[in-house]
Amino acid sequence: MSVDKILVITVGLIGIAFTYWFFFMKKEEMVTVTDSVDVLVKGGYSPSTISIPKGKTTKITFIRKDPSSCLEEVVLSDFKIRKYLPMNEKVAIEITPKEAGEFDFTCGMNMFHGKIIVK
């Protein structure tokens, strides 16, 4: 096998390993919230993992700074919420979780994910 082929195989394997590490092995930044939190919508959600207390009303304010149509809606399906997020505008959502557990929130097309952890 020629050198260039060995080189392409090596770089390819590193590329695959890097892709895996980059997307699947990231550590979620978690924010513990007591009454309200602002979530920036730009290439995903930050913070993407929010810990909130059970039985208390928490206000989550989304502000979208990303023009991608993918992010124009936010869906909290466990709380039956689907909201349109206009660009650069604050959209507040209030939830009062009755059960502890992990609940996902996603964009309208389910490409970007965030998590609400109820404790």
């Binding site: 096998m1 392409v8 709380f79 039956k80 309208g108 097309m109 994910h113």
Partner: protein, 743 residues
């Protein structure tokens, strides 16, 4: 068009006249009403002739300030923003495809010979491709860069990667052809690939966005139903006020052809009211004093006055909108698999694209590099996670919206999904199959009893006065109709599932069914024949005993709903078993069941047993729906797989019910199941298409068919297929709007 806006600087009644005169003078204004109390003006005008500025200056001319805003409705804003985005997108599509076509003409084998020499020049192609890549395609980078910063990826990431690779390689070839040639590769740019891909994907996005606007049409229609103003009577004067100013207790006048502003009860006058927009029922309903009216319905014939009972978020329309919005935000269980897959999708596709490049480079033989490059781009471009993400929610949105238009309100996607599997529908008799307004049909005096029928009715009605049972109401009403005076009752007690007891004077009175008589050891057997005759006619017979002696019988019958028979037949035609549950005895129950065509019945059921029967019917995988009025049967509704509540009054958000039928039409039960079946069929087809598309075409793009069939997918075709896949999913969901839910 009518508009209400605030006016600043008013302080007396004369201001009102001055303002009204000034506004009415404006060409195109047909009516202007100014209200001092609310400091608001309501103006009817022709929007072609009159603008906000004209209204503002008409007010300013007489020394006041008007705050005219366009309806600050969220939906409107959303619509406007979407409209703007679409417009911008359209320009980008035209530019990208236009420039792309020129490049294609100058570079695609077979047709390039016909192109002017200038288009065949690589540098010219390079210049034409730059604006497409970095202006039209800017949105892909704009989405990709922040996403990568968050270590996530989406659709845009794939497009950005694919087109950047194509563009950069082509740019390199154009600028340094010698270097490429030295590597043994023919220096050939692929600007056509990068530009046409961007153009086609943007075009797909444009159509997809337009189609998606259709999926939320039902909600917009519902919001549009609300009246804008109400004509209320205050201080003996009729004034027009904005809908959000109406308060509970306001007296509102509605004239023929007008929209009823909020929910309430008629206090004067009568009319026929078209409620089709809320209930789906096409025939107008006659209403008179004492009847309730629903906001947003249309008054057809008469003028009437009514008292507002529910305003703002409490109105039936607002509740319906909330319910439909909730349902559209909920997730169907069928979506779970798609959720899991899409969360891994994009990174996996990137890994596959790298693999494609490596495999082609190593085993591709001559011009391996070009094969590797183009096939890698094809893999990146053809992968379409959007179709998977859109498959379920778009269908749920259209399905729940379609239901709402026909008076079928679905609480969440899960109920919609479960409803298709229903094998048995249990109907509560009273108020569901029947109108729930029983009437006294027979009063029988027992031989030996000294009481005539009048006295029997008097005693029964007196004792039932305190009861809330629907049968009690019938007896009290009958007594009132016959102008019988009531006697004072002491020691009243209701015995659930049996009847009532109490004392009138010194006499102990028992009134109820056989079970009550047996419990109190009162003999009634000699009248069993008489009771049987009444029961076979479908009547409910109650026995009256005074001081442990049977004194008389009172029979009550409830009329069947007009839609009962056809509603049950529609279910039977779908192969679904209908079951009736009732507190009546077997014989009465059978007579009624026979009349509507139900074969299986549960009679003499105590209210608390309904839940158990529902659970017993859920044997194996049999899914059971319970249809009730949502008031007395909440446990049974909750225990069933899908609780279906027949709407009563203006309350639609019945907690225990998964589906609420606001039209009280029994055919809607079958219609709801049909809607569920159709929606799920659409979802399955969407998912099958979305999954199948990726599973089949990604390997094809990678070139797996090449060794055997010599088949490769040009990245341009890959982008076309990818654009089509999202659009086809959304369009398929929109087809749901076409189904007929015959009611």
């Amino acid at each position: 068009m009518k508009k209400t806006f605030s006016i600043r600087g008013m302080h007396c009644a004369s201001c009102v006249r001055v303002l009204e005169r000034s506004l009415k003078k404006v060409d195109g204004v047909s009516e202007a009403v100014v209200n001092l109390a609310t400091e608001k003006a309501t103006v009817s005008f022709d929007p072609q002739k009159v603008s906000n500025q004209i209204l503002q200056s008409a007010v300013a001319n007489v020394g006041y300030k008007a705050i005219v805003k366009d309806e600050n409705n969220h939906e409107d804003e959303e619509q406007k923003e979407k409209g703007k985005e679409l417009k911008a997108l359209k320009i980008k599509v035209i530019v990208a495809l236009g420039l792309g076509a020129l490049i294609l003409w100058g570079s695609f084998p077979l047709i390039m010979e016909t192109a002017p020499a200038i288009l065949q020049n690589f540098f010219v192609q390079f210049l034409l491709a730059i604006p497409v890549q970095f202006w039209a395609g800017f949105a892909f980078y704009q989405a990709t860069i922040p996403a990568l910063r968050n270590r996530t990826a989406n659709m845009d990431t794939l497009v950005a990667l694919g087109t950047t690779v194509a563009f950069s390689y082509s740019a390199f070839v154009t600028l340094f052809p010698k270097v490429v040639e030295m590597a043994g590769i023919e220096p050939m740019p692929y600007f056509d690939v990068s530009t046409i891909i961007i153009g086609l994907i943007l075009l797909g996005r444009y159509f997809e966005a337009r189609a998606k606007m259709g999926t939320s049409q039902a909600i917009k229609k519902l919001i549009g139903l609300a009246a804008k103003t109400a004509r209320i009577i205050r201080d003996n004067k009729e004034i027009d006020i904005a809908i959000d100013q109406v308060q509970i207790g306001d007296i509102i006048r509605v004239r023929p052809g007008e929209k009823i502003p909020v929910d309430g009860v008629i206090i004067e006058g009568e009319s026929a009211i078209d409620e089709s927009m809320i209930t789906g029922e096409s025939i107008p309903v006659d209403k008179k004093s004492g009847d309730s009216v629903i906001g947003a319905t249309i008054n057809k014939s008469g003028t009437f006055l009514y008292k507002a009972k529910k305003v703002g978020e409490e109105t039936m329309l607002a509740q319906i909108i909330k319910l439909v919005q909730d349902a559209q935000g909920s997730k169907a269980p069928i979506q779970r698999l798609a959720d899991v897959i899409s969360s891994y999708f994009v990174p996996v596709v990137i890994m596959l694209a790298i693999t494609t490049f490596v495999v082609w480079y190593v085993f591709g033989g001559d011009s391996a590099f070009l094969f590797a490059l183009l096939n890698m781009i094809a893999v990146l471009i053809i992968a379409c996670p959007c179709a998977m993400g859109l498959a379920t929610p778009t269908a749920i949105m259209v399905g729940t919206g379609k239901g709402a238009e026909s008076g079928i309100l679905i609480k969440d996607a899960e109920s919609l999904e479960t409803a298709q599997k229903i094998g048995t529908v249990v109907f509560d008799k009273t108020g569901t199959l029947t109108k729930g307004k029983p009437e006294v049909t027979d009063v029988v005096s027992i031989q030996g009893s000294k009481l005539n029928t009048q006295s029997l009715l008097q005693i029964a009605a007196s004792i039932e006065k305190g009861s809330e049972h629907s049968l009690a109401e019938a007896i009290v009403k009958k007594a009132e109709d016959e102008k019988i005076t009531f006697e004072k009752t002491t020691g009243f007690r209701a015995i659930a599932g049996h009847g009532v007891e109490g004392k009138i004077g010194k006499n102990k009175v028992l009134f109820g069914n056989r079970k009550l008589m047996e419990r109190e050891k009162i003999t009634y057997k000699e009248y069993e024949d008489k009771i049987a005759v009444l029961e076979e006619e479908g009547k409910t017979v109650m026995l009256l005993a005074i001081n442990k002696q049977l004194a008389g019988l009172i029979a009550v019958a409830d009329t069947l709903k007009d839609s009962a028979k056809s509603g049950i037949k529609a279910l039977r035609d779908m192969g679904i078993e209908a079951v009736m549950i009732t507190g009546d005895n077997e014989r009465t129950a059978k007579a009624i069941a026979h009349a509507v065509g139900i074969e299986r019945i549960f009679a003499e059921v105590l209210p608390e047993q309904k839940e158990k029967i529902v659970k017993d019917l859920q044997v194996g995988k049999n899914k059971v729906a319970f249809v009730g009025d949502g008031i007395n049967d909440a446990p049974a509704l909750a225990a069933s797989d899908v609780g279906i509540a027949m709407g009563t009054g203006t309350d639609v958000a019945i907690e225990a019910a998964g589906i609420t039928l606001v039209n009280k039409n029994l055919a809607s039960v079958a219609a709801a199941i049909k809607l569920s079946k159709q929606t799920m069929k659409t979802i399955r087809l969407n998912l099958f298409w979305a999954f199948g598309y990726n599973v089949i075409l990604i390997p094809v793009a990678a070139g797996v068919l090449y060794p055997v069939f010599g088949l490769l997918l040009n990245p341009i075709f890959a982008s076309f297929a990818m654009a089509m896949s999202s659009i086809s999913v959304v369009l398929n969901s929109l087809l749901l709007r076409k189904i007929k839910l015959v009611i």
